[in-house]
Amino acid sequence: MQRYKYILLPIALIALAACSKTVTNVTDNLPALAPANQDVNAGSWKPVLLSRPDTFPVAAPAATTNAAYTADLNEIKAYQHNLSGDVKSQISYWSAGHVLRWNQIMMELVTKYNLPPYQNPDGSYPAPNAANPFAYPNFPFSNPPYAARAYAYVSAAQYDALVACWHYKTLYNRPRPYQVDSSIRALGGRTTLPSYPSEGAVLAGVTAELMQLLFPAEIANIQQKLSQEELALIASGQAARSDVTAGEALGRQVADVFLARGRADKAGAAGGTPANWTSFVTAAEAASQIPWLSLETPGRPPMLPLFGKVKGFLCDSAAIVSLRPGPPPSTSSADMTAAVAAAYSTVTHATRQQMAIVQFWADGAGTYTPPGHWNYIADADFIKQNYSEVRWARNLALLNMAEMDAAISCWDIKYFYFNPRPTQMDARIKTLTGIPNFPSYVSGHSMFSYAAAAILGHLVPSRATAYNSMAGEAANSRVYAGIHYVVDCTTGATVGQKVGDYAVQRAMSDGAE
């Protein structure tokens, strides 16, 4: 008997351990979105690019007594008669909020593509090619500037598309299928918002159309998400097939306006040429400064050095120049020597708590980037705010336009000064996270975070203090990590706040407040 005791004990412990597995996402089991205020007048809000909410005509829907509509209802009944577990889970997933879910899909795509290309055998680096996105290195390399722009285009286009959608919803005032036929269940929740065109399908159309340009190798994946969403819309009784068809078509038309802008916003040329790269070195040397040098081996060309020339949503090129702060301490100054010494001292004395802050905010390669992190923070609060889809889209558009313009301004400043990282000045400085492959002054994290805190604090005033303290922590994390001087972060904070204020100005004048 004695001997079995010792055998059974480990077996019992092992059995216990085997039971507890499966980590779930914090947003897995959200209830259906049930906005307190559906913002029925959102058709009159000011779009970003559309000149009018009815730029693209949407034909009047068939009457609910029409045979075609009866066929739509029968399709819903057929789905509801025999709902598969997969469709049920799709209904549950999408009904938490269509803007939310597409935003999360965006974060996933950005993360998936945010990997720097591996070097060629000769030590040069291949560049991703939009014309051949499936070949390695896959297109795009969704680094922070690329990601900031991608989030902005998708969010701004979603917002414009929903403004148009709301315009037609109130114009036609078509009821939901479950309001027309009481035998149809409302599996995704009930709403008083008119059904035509379907807001979910508008989002599917506008988002899929843009994502296919931004992440061309994902076309099959994106098409699958769209199909799943539209099936969920119909099977849940939220929308009739005709609501969905009209919605998707409207969304795609609005997307085309943004696609046209995107092709001409100079982002395609942001990688620059070897001649451009040399010119930064020459300019820094002419100003008697030590020019920035890639700290990777082999040396990698600087990340999107001409991104500062991209056309912003909130700031024009003159505003970008006016946002440019004064220079950092000269690389030969005593101030610089002191800043390098401080960076060395900070990183060599980093505490576990500081390291946790570094990791929490690192948002480097293989992540959704700092703008993605702020989208995640925003969504977590928007869930609690119970926003309507159109307000959710508007607020994310304001956030992401601020993030894109923060990226433009930041990249303008970085390549204007071409300032070396602390480790370039003192090779003893070992860092707690990877050193980004672009100049030091000013900190991108600081700009992204303070711009985000400014607009989010305006949108959710009860969280303004929290956003500011998060932004401060994000900025400090780069100092703890040893990859920035303090002045990069304090200056970045000031400029980032100014960019955020442009978004606040827009928010106060778009008719939604």
């Binding site: 001997r3 010792y6 055998i7 004990l9 480990p10 077996i11 412990l13 092992i14 216990l16 351990a17 085997a18 507890s20 597995k21 499966t22 980590v23 779930t24 996402n25 914090v26 947003t27 999360q104 974060m107 996933e108 993360t111 998936k112 990997l115 720097p116 290309p117 591996y118 390695y136 700290l295 990777e296 081996t297 082999p298 990183v347 576990r352 390291m355 946790a356 990791q359 929490f360 690192a362 390669a365 293989g366 992540t367 959704y368 992190h373 995640y376 480790t423 400085i429 070992k430 860092t431 707690l432 996270t433 990877g434 050193i435 040893g482």
Partner: protein, 319 residues
Amino acid sequence: MLNVKNAVRFAIVLGLLLPVVTLRAQMDNDAIMMSKHNFCVGPTYGYSSWDHYWEGTYHRTNRNMGTVSTQMVSLMGDYGINDKLDFLVMAPYVWTHSSAGTLTGQHGVQDLTAWLKYLALERNVGNGVLSTFVLGGASIPLSNYEPNYLPLSIGLHTRTLSGRLMVDYQQGNFFATVMGTYTWRSDVTIDEPVYYTTSLHFTNKVDMPNMAAETLRVGYRSDRWIIEALASNMNTLGGFDIRKNDMPFPSNKMNSTSAGAHVKYNFKKIDGLSLDAEGDYTLAGRNVGQARSIDVGVFYILNFSKKTPKSTSNKPKTN
């Protein structure tokens, strides 16, 4: 009985820092038992390094990491509760370092690991002795180090439970030992709020796949010497590959096959003192470094029993 390999394997970071603790490390991976109320204790030192690693199945170097090395010191102990049951425990301090690039190394107390080792069956078969052992092990992190800093984090910060079956056959001074181990691993919490595996996860909790390992040891064993060759294989039952040019992640599919040699010497003049050394080389792997490792240790047996003599017997006991 302890040997260095036990200790070091146990905790040293293999390859992309799989704390070998879990599987290859076999704190008790030999067919030797302590006598009742004898306590074997001693320090061990381990050094492991690699400059090639497998990114998924792609064998490569990384000029931004150079050579990644791990050092470990540990105190281990093995207590004979009775002649058929041993309790083993160890806790290492680990340092990591990379020779190139800018990332700073880490150091700290890693995980506490304990095993119960039970000699379940022993009988004469042919001209030799066949012994069967059943072991249960558990490990728990002793500090709040960050697991998602591979390959320079000092461990994976998972809690583990292991079950092992070991069979040994000895004829004269020659023996063979074969064992299989299954290790359950708890999820881990990382500092990042969101992470990517093959999809994006909106949580800071990471599911850790379980692991399985097999080891074969063959060699010479006398009262004075153990000289043996060993081969080990370790598999992660699930997990995913490192993507091209990405960093490793705690829940990667870390597999490895390695071969090595182990020598142990019991001093004649100082009863209970032994020296122990082992070297290993990773022959094949997936999402791990191609590590070479060496471990050395000194052990001494304290006898808390009035009745039985100090025993370091390298031979399985025969009743």
